[in-house]
Symmetry: C2
Subunit: 239 residues, 2 copies
């Protein structure tokens, strides 16, 4: 059994196209009954923590993956990560435990890959402006993957806290893009070719993005169950 | 992070009373809201395999446990175990991955401990005859634990296959008990102080144990959702 740490996973230099192709294969296998995912199971103890286990399996490669996730905001107050995850990889025929992997790298990458895989089919190839509503882990992983596939020039960032927003803008500038801290959702969304919304699922905010502000042909990815989007404005989407 | 193999877990020589006390503490903590278990999540691909993940957490000790289970009967045809499991142990506050443990030892021990803990409150202290309906992993783990707590003299064994039944009888004799391969369920159950039923959950057999065959004061433990017990006879139990 091997342990794949965060550093080890990073050092493998897995490329965005490799990740997208792997995810697309799994989704096609799932449609063909050769890969399966179970409903997540969770514990909400009532003290602010959120615990989750997910289970999925594939025939080829013969891997069964169990992911354990703990969300504890108290850890970020202490300078750690609020969300920590690990993945146990089991041979899906023999049951042998093959590896334990740090789950934080995959939490970001897998979610972004699902969005970017959809973008590969739905977004305009010349997308240049990307807007982020929510500036946390998901914004960074989406930015990294989108930058690998699209001729981005400009990033709009809107977040509840100035710190996360500024960190995202700095990251975008370091990648050679213009970065704008938007004043409000309308300013962020207007003119964007791609909008990524990833506010915390624990947010109690009323929906504040009107989809009618989007320009025609814009693509949106929501990792937050569309929480910030005004429900009555969503009819504007083609799909 | 450490890996606790089957051999390592055995070498710890954890005693039956230690296991029962730990389980009792967890059940009391659960009642007090200090320990939680989530509903299991599962995948049934339709090819005979059964996959499952379970999630539980405790405040003290601060452990979150995710168990992955694969049942694949094809593995026993190849001389391996049909059921293989692993457990990932995570710190339930920090989210740090603490250990990965072989899950097969605990699958047997934990289930038997739940039965034997109930027996500690419900069974007669002088129980001498124990009957097993189903002679697999659970029969062995129950026999081991019951032998630690009760003045057993005699084991009755009834199983679908002669091989598992004979192995259980041999194990009972090696522990110094008289072992009888019962001809049928009535013979197995009659005169028993404790009855353990653990037929496979995949069994298609019609219920074949009539609870009225039990002697007064007998204790039964069922790890098989009472599948082999005739429903209409179950009213005989005090609880």
């Amino acid at each position: 059994m091997q342990y794949l740490s965060h550093e080890r996973l990073i050092s493998l230099n897995i490329t965005t196209p490799e990740i997208l192709n792997a995810l697309e294969k799994l989704l096609r296998d799932q449609a063909a009954g050769k890969a399966h995912a179970a409903p997540k199971t969770m514990i909400v103890p009532g003290d602010g923590r959120y615990m989750m286990a997910t289970l999925s399996t594939s025939d080829e490669p013969p891997f069964m993956a169990t992911k354990t996730v703990l969300l504890n905001q108290e850890n970020s107050a202490k300078g750690g990560d609020a969300i920590n995850a690990s993945i146990t990889l089991t041979h899906s025929q023999s049951g042998e435990t093959l590896a334990v992997m740090d789950g934080n790298w995959i939490t970001g990458v897998r979610t972004a890959a699902a969005s970017v895989l959809a973008a590969r089919y739905l977004a305009k190839k010349d997308a240049a402006v990307v807007a982020f509503i929510g500036c946390g882990v998901q914004a960074h992983s989406h930015l990294n993957m989108l930058a690998d596939l699209y001729p981005l020039t400009t990033v709009h960032a809107l977040g509840k806290g100035a710190k996360n927003r500024d960190v995202l803008c700095d990251a975008a500038r370091a990648m050679g893009f213009e970065a704008v801290a938007s004043e409000n959702a309308q300013q962020a969304v207007e003119g964007a070719d791609i909008v990524v919304s990833s506010i915390p699922l624990t947010s109690q905010a009323a929906p504040f993005i009107d989809a009618s502000w989007l320009k025609p042909g814009a693509f949106i990815a929501s990792t937050d169950s569309c929480l910030p989007w005004m429900n009555e404005s969503l009819g504007i989407f083609d799909r």
